[in-house]
Symmetry: C2
Subunit: 354 residues, 2 copies
C-alpha cells in the first residue's frame, strides 16, 4: 500500500459524540439560542474534528504550493511565467500579500516548490522552502495531459508528506497557491467534475481582457475535449487537466484529514485541490473549512459541489493563502466561544420567559 | 454651543489626498490589480480617515452601551428585562460572547450604563463600567415617547463624552449594545428614516415565535403612529422611538468622526445609532466601517440607507459588539497590506505583459 492509499484508509468522519457535546454546551450559553450563527457551526466542526471541547487552534501553518503550467503558453494570464518564481522569492523575503496577512493571523507560512519552472534549489538548500518539485512545469493541457498518472500520485503524496512533516507543530492547516495560469487548470477541473459548461465557470483570473477571457474559455474547452478526463477518477482529472500545486493542495487536505486537523482552504485553486481530495475520499471534506468566495465565477459551483459555504466574501482573487489567513481568526473566535463563554446556570442569568 | 453642536461642527470628510496616496501605492503592489478586493477598499478608508499611510489600528476599544426599554412590557422579547443588568455583570465578569471575541481581536471593552433598570452604581464606583445613566429605562414607545428631547441630546452627548475619555488611548472604536427589547426601537428608527413598512423590517430579535413577531410588528407600527417621529430630525426620532443606548452609540460614531478615528459598528442596534449619527452629520458616515450583516431582516435596509456594505455575513444576532470584534482583524489586515507588501519595483517582480 503506497502513502496515498494508506492515508485514504486512515481518514475517519468527524466525531459525532464530540459534536453533540459541543452543541449541548453552545445551546446553553448566555445569549439567545445560536445567536453567533455560523461561528457556532464552526465551533461544532472544530469539536468534531479535534475530538475536544477545547479544540487546539493556536498553531497555524499555511502551506503555499507553487507550480508552473505549460498552458501559460496559450496566453491565458496577464503575467509572464517567470512571475511564479519571482513570487516565491517574494514569499521567502516576506514581501507578499500572504506574508502581511499570515502575520495578522499569527500563522507560519511554508512554501513548497511543487514544480516551478526555475531552479529554486538554493532556497530549498537554505531551508527557506520545501522542495517537492515533480517537474519544471506541467504539460500544456490544451494539447495533451498536464502530467502522467504517476506524477499525479506523487504530487498528492508530496502534499501528504508536507503535512506529516508539519503536523506535530500545527493545530490548523491553511492552503495556498502560486502558479501563473493556474486558474485555467482549476477551471478545467471544476468543469470536468460538475459537467457545467466552461463558459459559465471561466473567469478573469489576474484580470484579463474580454478577448483573453474568450481565448481562455476556448482553452479550457479544448483541454477537456483533448484529454477526456474521467470525472469519477480524481487522479485521472489531476493528470489530464490539473497542476502540480493543485495535486499538492489535495494532498494537504487529505493529510490534514488523516491527522484529524482542520484545513482552511483558500480560493479558486485551493478549492480545485479540495474537490480532488473529496473525490479521492468524501470524508476528507469533513475536515475542510472554506475560507472565502473569490471573485472567480466558478468558485460558487466548487463550493456547492464540495457542500461548503465559505466564511468570507470580500472579492479576493489573489490566492497565495491570503483568504485562508483572513479566515483563521474566525477559528480562534469559534474556539473561544466554546471555551470562554458562560452558560445561563454558570452566570446566573435568567432564561427565556415561558 | 453645546457639546453636540461643537462636535458636529468639528467633523470633516475623509482626506482625499491621503486616500489617493494610498491608492497609488496599492495599485503597485505585487499582485494582480486590486486582487485583495474589499480589503484594499478598507485600506483606502483607513488612510483617508487617519491621514496616514500607516493608519494606527493597534489599540482597539469596543464601547458596549446598555439601556432598558419601556416597550419590553409589550412582550416583544423572549427574555425578561432583568437580563440587561445581568448581562452587564456578565460583561464585567468576562463571561459573555463579547469578552471571548474582543479577546481574539485584542480589543478592550468599555461598558456604559446609559439607562439600565437596575442600580449599577457599585460597578461604576469600582470603575468597572462608566455611569452615563439618563434614566432607568425609556418610556414605552407603544404609548408615548421614549424620552424627552433633552434626554436625547444628553444620550448622544454621553456617547461623545465616552469617546473623549478614551480617544487618547484608542486607535479604532467599536460599538456594541445590550438592552432587552432594543430591536423594537431600532426597527422603529429604520422604519421612520426609510419609510419602509414595519412588516418588512421587523425580525425575531432574540428568537421570538410567529405570534410574538406579529405582535412586535404591530407594536412598531403603533409606536410610529402614536409618536409621529420627524424623519428629518434625528433627535426627534431618538426621543420618540429610540433608546438611551442607541443615542449613546450615535454619540460614539460622532465622537470618533470628530476625532478622525474609524468606528466599527456592530449589528442592528448599532446601525440604528449610526443612522441617527448620519442624519445629524452626513460626513460622520465616512468614519463608519460596517462590521456585518445580521440575521435581522431590516439590517440590509439600514446598510443601504447608510451607504455601507458590511464586511461579514455570518448570521450573527447577538449584539454586544460581537460583530465589531470579529471584523476588527480585517482592519489589521488592511493596514498591513498598506504597510508591509512590496511594490513590483521594490520586489523586482515582472509586471503585466503588454
Amino acid at each position: 500500500m503506497n502513502l496515498l492509499e494508506a492515508t485514504l484508509a486512515s481518514i475517519h468522519p468527524q466525531d459525532t459524540v464530540w459534536r453533540a457535546r459541543a452543541k449541548a454546551r453552545l445551546d446553553q450559553l448566555i445569549m439567545p439560542h445560536w445567536a453567533l450563527g455560523r461561528l457556532m457551526d464552526l465551533a461544532l466542526d472544530l469539536a468534531g474534528i479535534s475530538r475536544s471541547m477545547a479544540p487546539p487552534v493556536a498553531r497555524k501553518t499555511i502551506v503555499t504550493m507553487a507550480g508552473d503550467h505549460g498552458v501559460a503558453a496559450e496566453g491565458v494570464s496577464k503575467y509572464p511565467q517567470e512571475v511564479t518564481a519571482q513570487m516565491v522569492f517574494g514569499f521567502v523575503g516576506g514581501m507578499a500579500g500572504i506574508n502581511a496577512l499570515a502575520n495578522v493571523a499569527g500563522a507560519r507560512i511554508v512554501v513548497v516548490d511543487m514544480g516551478v519552472a526555475a531552479d529554486l534549489s538554493p532556497l530549498a538548500s537554505a531551508g527557506r522552502i520545501l522542495d517537492k518539485k515533480i517537474a519544471p512545469a506541467t504539460g500544456n493541457i490544451a494539447g495533451g495531459p498536464a502530467m502522467t498518472r504517476h506524477q499525479a500520485v506523487r504530487a498528492v503524496e508530496a502534499g501528504i508528506e508536507v503535512v506529516e512533516q508539519l503536523a506535530e507543530t500545527t493545530d490548523v492547516f491553511g492552503t495556498g497557491d502560486m502558479g501563473i495560469a493556474n486558474t485555467t487548470p482549476s477551471t478545467a477541473i471544476v468543469a470536468a467534475l460538475t459537467g457545467l459548461p466552461a463558459a459559465d465557470l471561466t473567469g478573469r483570473g489576474t484580470g484579463i481582457s474580454d478577448d483573453q477571457l474568450a481565448r481562455k474559455t476556448a482553452v479550457v474547452e479544448q483541454a477537456l475535449a483533448t484529454n477526456c478526463p474521467d470525472p469519477t477518477d480524481a487522479l485521472d482529472v489531476l493528470a489530464k487537466v490539473g497542476g502540480f500545486e493543485i495535486g499538492g493542495i489535495a494532498g494537504v487536505v487529505l493529510g490534514a484529514a488523516a491527522r484529524q486537523k482542520p484545513v482552511v482552504i483558500d480560493g479558486f485553486i485551493s478549492t480545485a485541490g479540495a474537490l480532488l481530495a473529496q473525490l479521492l475520499c468524501p470524508m476528507s471534506a469533513e475536515y475542510i473549512i472554506a475560507a472565502h468566495r473569490s471573485a472567480e465565477p466558478g468558485h460558487s459551483a466548487m463550493h456547492t459541489h464540495l457542500g461548503k459555504q465559505p466564511l468570507l466574501d470580500l472579492g479576493l482573487r489573489l490566492g497565495e493563502g491570503t483568504g485562508a489567513a483572513l479566515a483563521m481568526p474566525l477559528l480562534d473566535a469559534a474556539e473561544r466561544i466554546l471555551t470562554q463563554v458562560a452558560t445561563f446556570d454558570e452566570a446566573h442569568v435568567s432564561k427565556e420567559q415561558p
